[in-house]
Symmetry: D2
Subunit: 365 residues, 4 copies
């Protein structure tokens, strides 16, 4: 495959849901058809559709009216990995490398290049395909904003907005009822959502995976507020936050459930602990999947449009095996190989942490 | 106390948080000052402030700019009951009737009438005060809309709106990722929020406390959808919904916590059970306190203004010991004694249930 | 045609845009198919499609995912009137009664009943068809809430919400910049939107078509606020409001435009007048079409679902020539003949006007 | 004055309203008190309060709960310029340089540094004060995002979000009623809001002040859509957009008004012109002041917090006469002297214009 000779591309979306996926699909498809006269294929349900050869040609009108719609018209699958595909025969499940089948399916449909919209896992496989000679372009997707190599990912602004609006609502209850409200937001390994939503909502305590907290410090802080007449506190906690010296709160298995389902994570544990130590009335709210869905914010629609547009333009310039990124305010790209297996966490001296500290926020340390 | 001679009133807010409390306080205060030249007192933290004689005169400007603000500027307390006030001496907690102290505090401040904004518990105490000769007017407050005697309560529309917007967001994820999403909304004894939010969001399954569900029926229904190509389902469940023959899912006690904190209720249990029986990917989201807070919707601001205004006008007409209500589209009032201890549940043949069934919604039966 | 023998129905939407149209179409279609096994036809572009025989069968899936979408999937047309259809031949335009063609088109497709979703104009034609023996059911639609016979129409709650949210935004600017902000909302003959949005936003002055205003009184009121230290005012004005003894502000014709386009109505005139008389900084905002569009509120989705469901159920009970209504909190219907040519205006002693006066609102009189 | 010796600062807000002003005031005040133990003064009504010596000490609690509130607790004034202060004596108005009075007022209150939050006009005066030896720090504020020297200003994201949400609402009406909807957004000299809201809403035509349009091209484009079955179009137009070879549509003077009040600008004119040339049904909506108000988005709250925090930190580092900026994704500052009199317009080859063109948007050329 040669970039210059690209006549047909395919696009797929992998991993968890993220507002703006449809906006990228739309920008990719419209740019490809409008500007370069390409044929565009949509692969169904992420890599699963690539493995199973489920893909269809996307017409211009197929991507009309999807800019503002959450989710992905292509479907996604969280688990599919073409290099370690799970195959269940009888009672045993084995993993098999079916990446060659994928390459064959692309060739069978005369597809010259593949655009993979996804997060860490999706990019690892994309890098694998690049090594196999497939012309690949990655588009970074994660509400957590923890993908290495890019300053920002679409979906993040929407997630922060959803989380902040929820905390805004909870604020008045905390204040009227003199409570410590503990709101758990997404972010298993990086605390970007908690940090931004915490600052945006003027929360009192912000707990990040990157800064293990001291329970004592938190209790001291909320009691201190109480003594100064502020008889309530708002605590925002990333799901991956953990106590200094402790570990991430493990999801408990629900009775009747074969898979572990998160049943009360760190927010619930903290509510119990803070209540026990301070005697203050504590309540936990776990925002959960609300953060992953819904209409993308205008910011994310613009970013997703830029990313989708850039992906096609780079491919047509002959660039391949790269990830579209925004770096220092500018659109660019970096090799997928440099991204694989890395994560972008919040640096302890990040300017927003310093600003938050300056306006009186506690990070529980 | 004689209604005709009312020169000074007091207002208090009791029970859980509810959008529109401030709007009622504003309407009460402005109507009392503007139209009748009364003095208005605000009692702090519900009945607790009445017991402890914590109250202050409210000026016109004190209630400026609070119409759109969630919570209550007076504060509230969930637990205070002047007829069974908990008093802790050393390690023992006893209940004591301190209602006479309350009456004395009102008289001490020359307060001629008391407006109690609250739910079931608040109205029971209000009825008690009415029996003791206090000139009382109740204003119904509950996001659950389950207060007997009134067709609608302020806060309900806001709660339904918040719940529906959350379900809207989750919808796209369910659809993109082929999941059964189970969203738990408030409603321990009545399913009004679940019913309205379920219909408003076009949810597939709606589970109410009033209609015990069959797990089999739910599983059958979501599998049926799956077979017809609808590879996802939205289940809205009231926190008080229970299985046919079963009981309400009991809140589990969190380690370290003296008080039971709800740690995964019916939505989490259902997610496990439906997954086990159908093999479908299931996720639970518990909306929680988000439903109780935030700016009231315009609908609730109008309703709260009407209620607050009506409370004063009724008092000045000499009516006492009543609850302000909206009945068949009209403002009215009924004796507090007729309300006490009753709850307004969803009738099984409610027109909205029938409409929901007609458009294909399952109630799990 | 006999109601009992109804096997196939058609549905159309007429008149201006209104949030909830799709929700009614969905409820009509799903109820008809689900509950009664009927065939459902969708007529395109209101009566125009009926005249031109543009209609198609609606399948169950055609109405999936439209509950939350503004507008109408069927299209609408503001001007079509089958009894006075405008036909242009050469340079002359005449009106012709094409209602018999419409009846023939319905029969040609074996359609047994017609559901007309629309406002005043649509219902007049619907009443005309009823007289001709067509089995007709009307569903009331207007954001203005001024349709006679029903207490409430879907779309109204959404319009009030949109208007109120806009006024909320403008509030802070008025306050920070010490301005008189004049916001024009829809309502040419009835002031329901202005009244509700005015009360919900805590506006200072509310001007309705039903209560001609005195410019002096308005100026006096805003100057009075200014003197009491409230250096700003919010004026909400219905587009049809007029000065005592004056008439509705006529839309000015824009250069280059064959049709008159509203170019600054009453809000702009008032801004000029109030500024001239008081010297205060005045600004006008005309909300316009924003009020007609967008996702319907949960309240309107529920109401629209009830209305659509009711329309089919009434038809199947043998009722015809009626309008579905909500009266005193209950779903019902009344003969179309009783509705024609009437409008529901705001009574001067409406309880919400009295409540607004009590909390200090001026109606400019 | 020596930066190292700063013990007391003053903060003021100038120019038009902008969401996030309070967030900056809060960050400035909290950082100053918390981190550096400074005294903080709030100047009322922009430079007017500085001229008239109206200022007050801000306590920590004065800035509690203002993060999410639109407007400015300090008040603003659009017109005040201390170097050309308008003084009216009898019937004549003259301008006078009262900047020395301002300096005297600062000294009189022992204020060591001045933080000016504002736009172009405010910064010109700030630069003037810097020349006079006042320790000044500017914080850029404009919803238009056209301030030179910074990539982004707070308020812009909120304005774009408000505009986009309005266009989203209008979209369904356009589509249902087959109309050309023309939405006028703010932006007299730069089209940033129109460009971003246009892309975010998937608008069909976007008209910027920087790219004079050809009426023919616009008409051709919307007719072309109509012929392809897209019987509607969305046109977003910045208030300062003008026809190729023409000039900005001048605001017309309203009868009775001493000051010119914009009465139908470019959107209304375009509606008339497009209708005349194409025969399509056209409607104009002028969003106006709604864009300047309301709760800032989480993005703007974070940005405003960063800016306010940075302003104090720079001052305490001894930097003065600068403007806080965000450049290439990083917080920084540049000399006020480099900013004065310049404006940041949209470059014709801006990547977002190119992306918009690629997805099929017309810029009317």
């Amino acid at each position: 495959m040669k970039a210059k000779g690209i006549k047909s591309i395919a696009v797929m979306t992998g991993g968890g849901d993220c507002p703006g996926l449809n906006a990228v699909i739309r920008a990719v498809t419209k740019t490809a058809i409008n500007k370069f006269g390409l044929e565009v294929w949509g692969i169904e349900d992420g890599y699963l559709g690539l493995i199973e050869d489920r893909m269809r040609v996307l017409q211009y009108n197929d991507v009309s009216n999807i800019l503002t719609v959450g989710g992905t018209i292509l479907g996604s699958s969280n688990v599919a990995n073409p290099f370690k595909h799970k195959v269940t025969v009888g009672k045993t499940t084995r993993t098999r490398d079916v990446s060659d089948d994928c390459v064959r399916n692309l060739k069978g449909n005369n597809i010259d290049a593949l655009i993979c919209i996804g997060g860490d896992g999706t990019m690892s496989s994309a890098a694998g395909f690049a090594k196999k000679g497939v012309v690949v372009m990655g588009v970074p997707k994660t509400i957590d904003n923890d993908l290495y190599g890019t300053d920002i990912t679409f979906g993040f602004n929407t997630a922060v907005t959803t989380a902040t609006e929820a905390i805004d609502k909870i604020h008045t209850t905390a204040s009227s009822h003199h409570r410590v409200m503990i709101i758990e937001v997404m972010g298993r390994y990086a605390g970007w959502i908690a940090l931004h939503a915490g600052v945006a909502s003027g929360s009192d305590v912000v707990l990040l995976p990157e800064i293990p907290y001291h329970l004592d410090k938190i209790c001291e802080f909320v009691l201190g507020r109480s003594k100064r007449g502020k008889r309530f506190s708002i605590v925002v906690v990333a799901e991956g936050a953990k106590e200094k010296g402790g570990k991430m709160v493990v999801a408990k298995k629900v009775a009747h459930s074969p898979d572990p389902i998160r049943l009360g994570g760190v927010a619930n544990v903290l509510a119990g602990q803070i209540n026990e130590r301070t005697g203050l009335d504590c309540r936990a709210v776990v925002l959960g999947h609300v953060q992953r869905g819904g209409t993308p914010t205008p910011f994310d629609r613009v970013l997703a449009t830029n990313f989708g547009n850039m992906a096609i333009k780079l491919l047509m310039k002959g660039i391949k095996g790269h990830l579209v990124v925004q770096k220092d305010g500018k659109l660019a790209s970096i090799p997928l190989s440099r991204v694989a297996g890395k994560i972008k966490t919040v640096p302890r001296n990040h300017h927003l942490i310093r600003a938050a500290l300056a306006v009186g926020t506690s990070f529980g340390v």
